[in-house]
């Protein structure tokens, strides 16, 4: 954080700002606390007392139910982890490969290439043509590729990477060239190692995009084989909703349904699916400011 050092000296009597931020932070965290509390409350207590921040009757029943059918969860976890790992690695490669020539001022086509990428931010075909391309022409319906491909090249990420690389000194590249290195070698031996902070930031953003993606799953996945966690959450939510509201459920499954701790299970599932990302991301925090400099997004 060399950037932080550049700050002017500030007085320590900022207690009211700290108070303000404490309130804001509470506002950010409290919703999560409620979800955790509900997931740990017994169903009876929930029906009686409603959702409370401090559970009246603690119970791990919800988690027991969630983990009772591990096959579904394991499969979805597998799909999500697979697309996150493969997607992030591939996306990083594509992003850097594209951003690097964009950042080289002596590359004759750096401007057209930049415009080519930037234009996709401003204009696109929209959902339906993309859906038709993916399903009718590339035949990717119910394929794990349909979960990886759409997020592979995010113009924002490319521009972030480009503006990071823009600041790299030209001399290093020049001297490597004089030593007879090929562009591939320069990219691999010099550019990649020097971009670690940017790569770390981007890998966080990209992996989070893959982990949390539900839209492409909603569009392209019907097959139970490739249901990622988020789609599983969507499906379970609508299923519970369906059971709770459908008159059909009254007779047959209502009995079963009555004993099914839906309220707490719901929140437990949310935590099981969303937890890993929330635990992981603070570790990347230190790279944030260095990595994101959208300020130099111009050009």
């Amino acid at each position: 954080m060399e950037l932080a050092l550049a700050k002017p000296v500030k007085s320590a009597s900022n207690w009211y700002i700290h108070l303000f931020f404490t309130l804001i932070c509470l506002f950010m965290i409290i919703p999560f606390v409620l979800v955790i509390a509900v997931s740990l409350t017994s169903e009876n207590s929930l029906l009686h007392d409603g959702y409370r921040f401090i559970p009246k009757e603690l119970s791990l029943e919800a988690y027991r139910i969630v983990l009772k059918s591990p096959e579904i969860w394991l499969k979805s976890y597998g799909v999500t982890i697979a697309i996150t790992v493969v997607g992030t690695a591939t996306s990083l490669l594509f992003t850097t490969l594209t951003a690097y020539p964009m950042s080289r001022r002596d590359f004759r086509y750096h401007r057209p290439l930049t415009f080519y990428i930037f234009f996709t931010l401003l204009f696109n075909g929209g959902t339906i043509p993309f859906y038709i391309l993916m399903t009718q022409y590339l035949h990717l319906k119910n394929s794990i590729l349909a979960l990886i491909i759409p997020l592979l090249m995010n113009p924002f990420n490319i521009i972030i990477m480009k503006s990071y690389l823009d600041k790299m000194s030209v001399e290093i590249i020049e001297s490597a060239k004089i030593d007879g290195s090929s562009e591939f070698r320069i990219f691999y031996r010099i550019i990649l190692p020097l971009s670690t902070p940017a790569l770390a930031t981007l890998s966080l953003f990209i992996s989070f995009a893959y982990w949390n993606d539900w839209f492409n799953a909603l569009l392209f996945i019907d097959d139970n084989k490739y249901v990622p966690l988020q789609l599983l959450l969507v499906r379970i939510l609508s299923q519970i909703e369906f059971l709770a509201n459908s008159p059909l459920a009254e007779t047959a499954s209502k009995l079963q349904f009555a004993n099914f701790p839906t309220l707490s299970v719901r929140m437990a599932m949310a935590l099981v699916a969303g937890g890993p990302m929330m635990v992981m991301f603070p570790f990347f925090q230190k790279y944030f400011i260095k990595g994101i400099t959208v300020g130099s997004l111009k050009n």
Partner: protein, 314 residues
């Protein structure tokens, strides 16, 4: 024209030389170039679907032209006004509220020094890192009719509970609140990075002149942040015709009863597609979104350029 023939030939030859000289870097850019060509540029051809009657067996190019027929429903139905109005007003609200909140937070963040900055940042960022599906679950914990926290709270203080998912007006507050809650951490960080990048000499000079904190904020920080604010604003404007599907689908729980105030273009298209299989109206709406988005962004940029060339995005 014949006189320019040798000239053209020479230029072509020269360009070929350039290509040769840049071939390695071109090769590096090739995977991304080809990928975008297929994934981003090819679907742009699909925009003509807005003027066609799409049949799967005939493909995009083979389907029959129908003129403006696909747009008819937009101009005839009551839905159109509703979804367009909702999309525009919500997006404006998100842009304005989000920018204001992020500016206030980033300026305040810059005022505090030391270790706490990181703690605040991390906490602000937390909601950004969960999916909108989860945000839907969280909202549900608050708004559920019977046991939801909000209704219990209302009952505790002697007010009557609400059936939030069946009402319309509360969403005008709930959705912007959720939107800002989710995204403010990210925009705060962008502005904070911008403020940190400001040369500290300005502040020191101002301090010597006896400027107050507020004066420094209004005379130094905000003017110097202006380009950044404008860039974010223009990019936001480009999406003004695109509703946040996740936010408007999962947070109101896709409940039919609140559609009047929660439905946006994207949720409408999705419903048209998934429930009715109506690709044609969807394509027409998508066409409008893309074209209007481009027009908005280009004209916003032109307007900015006229006022202040420096700050234009392109």
């Amino acid at each position: 024209m014949t006189t320019s023939q040798p000239f053209r030939k020479r230029r072509l030859l020269q360009e070929f030389k350039h290509l040769r000289k840049n071939r390695e870097l071109l090769l590096l850019a090739m995977p991304g170039f080809l990928f975008e060509l297929v994934i981003a540029y090819l679907p742009m051809i699909g925009l003509i679907l807005a003027f066609k009657y799409f049949r799967y067996d005939q493909g995009i190019l083979g389907s029959k032209w129908v003129g403006l027929k696909n747009f008819e429903f937009l101009f005839k139905s009551q839905d159109a006004i509703r979804i367009i109005r909702n999309t525009l007003l919500y997006n404006m609200t998100y842009i304005v509220l989000g920018t204001l909140a992020a500016l206030v937070l980033s300026i305040m963040l810059y005022e505090v020094s030391g270790r706490m900055v990181k703690v605040y940042q991390t906490t602000l960022f937390l909601p950004y890192f969960i999916s909108l599906v989860l945000v839907g679950y969280i909202t549900y914990a608050f708004l559920e009719h019977k046991s939801g926290y909000l209704n219990r709270l209302l009952q505790d203080i002697g007010l009557s509970p609400h059936k939030w998912y069946f009402e319309t007006t509360p969403w005008l507050v709930i959705l912007p609140l959720v939107a800002v809650w989710k995204s403010v951490g990210f925009s705060t960080l962008i502005y904070y990075a911008g403020i940190v990048g400001i040369n500290t000499d300005y502040y020191e000079a101002a301090k010597l002149d006896g400027a107050s904190r507020l004066q420094m904020i209004f005379r130094i920080t905000l003017p110097l942040l202006k380009p950044l604010i404008i860039v974010v604003f223009i990019l936001g404007l480009g999406n003004i015709f695109r509703g946040d599907f996740g936010l408007h689908y999962f947070v109101p729980n896709n409940a039919g009863a609140n559609l009047a105030t929660t439905d946006v273009i994207d949720t409408y298209v999705y419903r048209a597609l998934s429930k009715l299989g109506d690709i044609n109206s969807g394509a027409a709406v998508g066409f409008l979104q893309s074209v209007v988005g481009l027009i908005t962004i280009v004209s916003a940029n032109a307007a900015v350029r006229r006022i202040d060339e420096e700050n234009a995005l392109f």
